[in-house]
């Protein structure tokens, strides 16, 4: 039986299972909103992956903690109605400059604990390289195998995670890499954790920072109860119950079906799955899957699990409505509009590679992805890239790329007898990814969803109308504050790229919000 802890949420005592996130505990206690935006709107979780900063709460007096990343602790006090004065405010995790500093040297440092990062760390460590895996999540496995750290990983994740445990690679979780600097004999990574700061010196670095969801704004998308598609799934994986909820899954891509499955397992009644891609494109896609029948089967299994949930293609969310929280969605198929009553919306339009760290390291980027050669080597010496940052291509591709990168970073790729197998797996995945990109490309109509008063930058509450008169991302930033909040443009940047074609490519350290003291201590130590 899981232990029960007592948490105060805005002064109200709430019981929660230990091991769940604050966000999950709040949702289970009926609190959909976790913060008040700068314009005074109540906001809830969006991404649930530590990207969007919409779920920032004050924990035991420490402001700006991400409720989706922190676990509940007995006696913890959570405030969702921030404000107050800065006099009593302390920073995230520490009173003053931390003395807890550590330098670690290794042969291969891997950033990102998803399938690509885990595979990379295994392969490098297994051939004797001193390997360190750095993961922002509290348990390795990435978003696909996101879980409560007190729970066993799902069966499919076990082989690789057990292999990681045996490989000899050191693993650090709950650590945020905020800078990467080229040094004489390799790379220096600067990282911060709640327990202190860390400098990692590595001869080679493997970046496997994965992807985040693509959110396309629509009126009402800021209402609590409107989650990302992967976001809603991540909430469930980290302990949120959806019991008794009416849920609608919408957006685009192969993720929608497993998301619906997760919500159903979380106790929700899934009333509709709405895929924006037209049926013709889906049919072509299904036909082209003949080369990998396993994939089609997987899709069908999910579909079958959802006999009860109608699936509509060529249908998208136009607007979310409700008073202080989601109550109903307006959908359309381009011809007719209809309304659906629901209190959970899981809406995502596919994935965006997290290329901030590779960009900071100077890796060549093409479009939204890192350019890597046959050995997963980036354009920068001693930096390898694997997984979704090289293009979103699914689990098998990520693992193959991770293995290749791990072997290459360990100088074992050229001689590897596995090269043909891994190269084939990667090529298969890449071909499939290209078909997926074409199938699930967001339709033109989605550009017209937002109205002048629709918030596009959720950190700074900037509506579309103010941004639309600008000519570039940089002008929008300086003129409207769009992209200037703690998510650093990770949410509105890709949306504005879709809406206006703007490049959103400035990356400077720190690439994630970082205590000022950490910026000092890592340099003093370096």
């Amino acid at each position: 039986m899981p232990e029960t802890v007592r948490v105060l949420i805005d002064g109200r005592a709430v019981d929660a299972e230990s091991g769940v996130t604050i966000a999950a505990a709040a949702i289970n206690a009926g609190e959909r909103a976790l913060r008040t935006s700068i314009r005074g709107e109540r906001r809830g979780v969006l991404c649930a992956m530590g990207i969007c900063f919409e779920c920032r709460v004050t924990v035991d007096g420490h402001p700006h903690r991400r409720a989706c990343m922190d676990l509940v602790r007995d006696g913890m006090s959570v405030e969702t109605r921030a404000g107050g004065t800065g006099l009593a405010m302390r920073g995230p995790g520490r009173e003053t400059r931390s003395a807890r500093l550590e330098t670690v040297s290794c042969d291969v440092a891997v950033v990102g604990g998803g399938p690509a990062g885990v595979a990379a760390a295994c392969r490098a460590a297994e051939v004797g390289r001193r390997t360190l895996l750095l993961d922002e999540n509290l348990a390795a496995g990435g978003q696909i195998y996101r879980r409560r750290p007190d729970r066993e990983p799902p069966p499919k994740a076990r082989p690789w995670l057990q292999r990681l445990a045996r490989s000899g690679a050191a693993v650090r979780n709950g650590i945020c890499v905020f800078d990467a600097v080229r040094e004489k004999d390799g790379w220096r990574l600067s990282a911060s954790t709640d327990a202190g700061d860390l400098i990692v010196r590595a001869r080679a670095v493997i970046l496997a920072t994965g992807a985040r969801e693509l959110f396309l704004p629509f009126p009402g998308w800021t209402l609590p109860g409107v989650y990302g598609a992967g976001g809603a799934q991540a909430l469930w994986k980290t302990g949120a119950s959806m019991r008794g909820r009416r849920a609608l899954v919408a957006g685009s891509g192969p993720l929608l079906l497993p998301v619906a499955s997760s919500l159903s397992r979380a106790g929700a009644r899934v009333v509709l799955i709405a895929e924006q891609a037209p049926l013709a494109a889906l049919t072509r896609f299904a036909g082209s899957l003949a080369s990998s029948p396993g994939k089609l089967l997987e899709a069908l299994r999910y579909r079958a699990a959802f006999a009860g949930a109608p699936y509509r293609s060529g249908t998208w969310v136009k607007e979310a409505r409700g008073d202080g929280g989601l109550e109903r969605l307006v959908l359309t198929d381009g011809a007719a509009e209809f309304e659906v009553r629901c209190d959970v919306a899981a809406v995502g339009y596919g994935l965006v590679p997290n290329v901030e760290l590779p960009r900071l390291a100077g890796c060549a980027i093409e479009g939204d992805r890192v350019t890597a050669d046959a050995s997963q080597r980036s354009s920068v010496p001693d930096v390898f890239c694997a997984g979704e940052i090289c293009g979103v291509a699914g689990l098998e591709t990520a693992i193959a790329e991770g293995e290749i990168a791990g072997l290459a970073a360990a100088d074992r790729w050229e001689e590897s007898s596995e090269a043909p197998r891994l190269t084939r797996a990667r090529a298969r995945g890449r071909r499939r990814a290209a078909r997926m990109d074409a199938t699930f490309a967001p339709r033109e109509e989605l550009r017209a969803l937002s109205r002048a008063d629709t918030i596009v930058c959720r950190c700074e509450d900037v509506p579309l109308g103010r941004i639309a008169s600008c000519g570039s991302a940089r002008e929008a930033k300086l003129s409207t504050r769009a992209g200037m909040g703690p998510c650093q443009g990770r949410v509105c940047g890709p949306a504005l790229r879709f809406l206006f074609g703007w490049d959103w490519d400035t990356v400077r350290p720190p690439i994630k919000p970082t205590p000022l003291g950490s910026l000092v201590s890592v340099e003093e130590l370096a």
Partner: protein
């Protein structure tokens, strides 16, 4: 279209203020901008409107300009984030406290409100400063605003008087013309307000880019209330050493803390100098230890247009007929923009100014730059 009376090169805060002042005189003005208003040093600046006292000339210009800003604040839209924060010049020890006394007399004798805070009064005013500091000078009339929004507002106000803007890159300036990527534009007079890029258009201007870092935090409303500047700031600002930092912490109206400042001469290298940024933040932590726990969400750099004698270049540039210079404001461009606009208008119209403009004449004898 008939050529305008005045072409202004640069749409930063200084170019915008010149457009504002010239159009107020009824002159036909066109502003040339490379991309959008306030995209250079204006967009990177802190926006501290401050009266300075390191020379009579600097005092006269900053005091005049702050008065002009103060008269404008009732008109500024909310986007300009104007805040009557006031400055606290923080003294670390008894020596610096003596300096505070001299500074207080200097301001007092010249009619600028300023009062001395004891150690206890300082801690009461700003509890996040460390105990043991000696005290401070408070200058309540100093202000804070958001510079790119202020530049845009000045240009919008000018546009209502007929000022036009043209997005084109200037590549050279000659007698009563500007050479651009798309051809030559003529005017009765030209104002070079291109900031750190001014000498690229007017060779011989003694201006060098002086790089600075800033870092901004998430929202911590009330963490500090005044713009906090260490008294040793001038030592940094006027340091002949290639690198210097000073404690400079500003409360934004958003509740965010904006932290400076650093100075270095490295050309237009826009990369973050991590070591210097760390020194700068470390300096702030020495004064306000709780700064260490604030969450930094973004760091950036900008290029101050620095002159060897720390005074701007405002007025006629004799070598080129019809050319006026409004540049070289180093870290004071936001403060000095309105006064610069007035002095330029006076110079172009050939009339007397409210203050003696000769200390800022671009053709004055300037001591050789320590950094040249």
């Amino acid at each position: 279209m008939a050529s305008p009376d005045v072409l202004i090169v640069g749409a930063g805060i200084v170019g915008a203020a010149c457009a504002d002042a010239l159009s107020a005189e009824g002159l036909r003005v066109e502003v040339l901008e490379t991309a959008f208003p306030g995209g250079g040093a204006t967009g990177a600046a802190m926006g501290h409107l401050v009266v300075m006292d390191d020379s009579e000339a600097q005092f006269a210009l900053t005091e005049y300009s702050r008065r002009l800003w103060t008269a404008l604040v009732g008109h500024l839209p909310a986007s300009c984030e104007d805040e009557a924060a006031g400055t606290l010049w923080v003294a670390a020890d008894a020596d610096e406290m003596e300096h505070v006394g001299r500074k207080a007399r200097f301001y007092g004798e010249r009619g600028v409100e300023a009062d001395v805070l004891s150690e206890a009064e300082l801690l009461e005013a700003e509890p996040n400063l460390r105990p043991g500091l000696a005290g401070a000078l408070r200058v309540p009339g100093d202000r804070v605003l958001y510079p790119p929004a202020a530049a845009r507002w000045l240009l919008e106000r000018s546009a209502a008087r007929g000022v036009s803007r043209r997005a084109v890159e200037a590549i050279a300036i000659g007698p009563r013309y500007v050479e651009t990527r798309t051809g030559r534009l003529s005017a009765g007079a030209v104002v070079n307000a291109a900031g750190a890029a001014a000498p690229l258009l007017t060779p011989g201007l003694p201006i060098a880019p002086r790089k600075g870092h800033l870092v901004i935090t998430d929202r911590y409303p009330g963490f500090c209330r005044h713009q906090l500047v260490e008294l040793g700031y001038l030592k940094s600002a006027h340091s002949p050493t290639p690198e210097s930092v000073a404690f400079n912490l500003q409360p934004r109206s958003t509740g965010q803390m904006l932290l400076g400042s650093s100075r270095e001469f490295v050309g237009f290298d826009a990369s973050i100098n991590r070591r210097l940024l760390a020194r700068m933040v470390g300096r702030a932590i020495e004064f306000a230890p709780a700064v260490a726990g604030l969450s930094a969400i973004r760091a950036w750099v900008g290029f101050r247009p620095a002159t060897p004698d720390n005074l701007p270049l405002i007025g006629r540039w004799e070598e080129t007929p019809g050319l006026f210079v409004a540049a070289g404001h180093e870290g004071l461009g936001i403060t000095l923009a309105p006064a610069t606009g007035r002095l330029i208008a006076d110079a172009i119209l050939g009339r007397a100014s409210a203050i003696d403009p000769s200390p800022y004449a671009p053709t004055r004898r300037i001591p050789r730059a320590a950094h040249a």
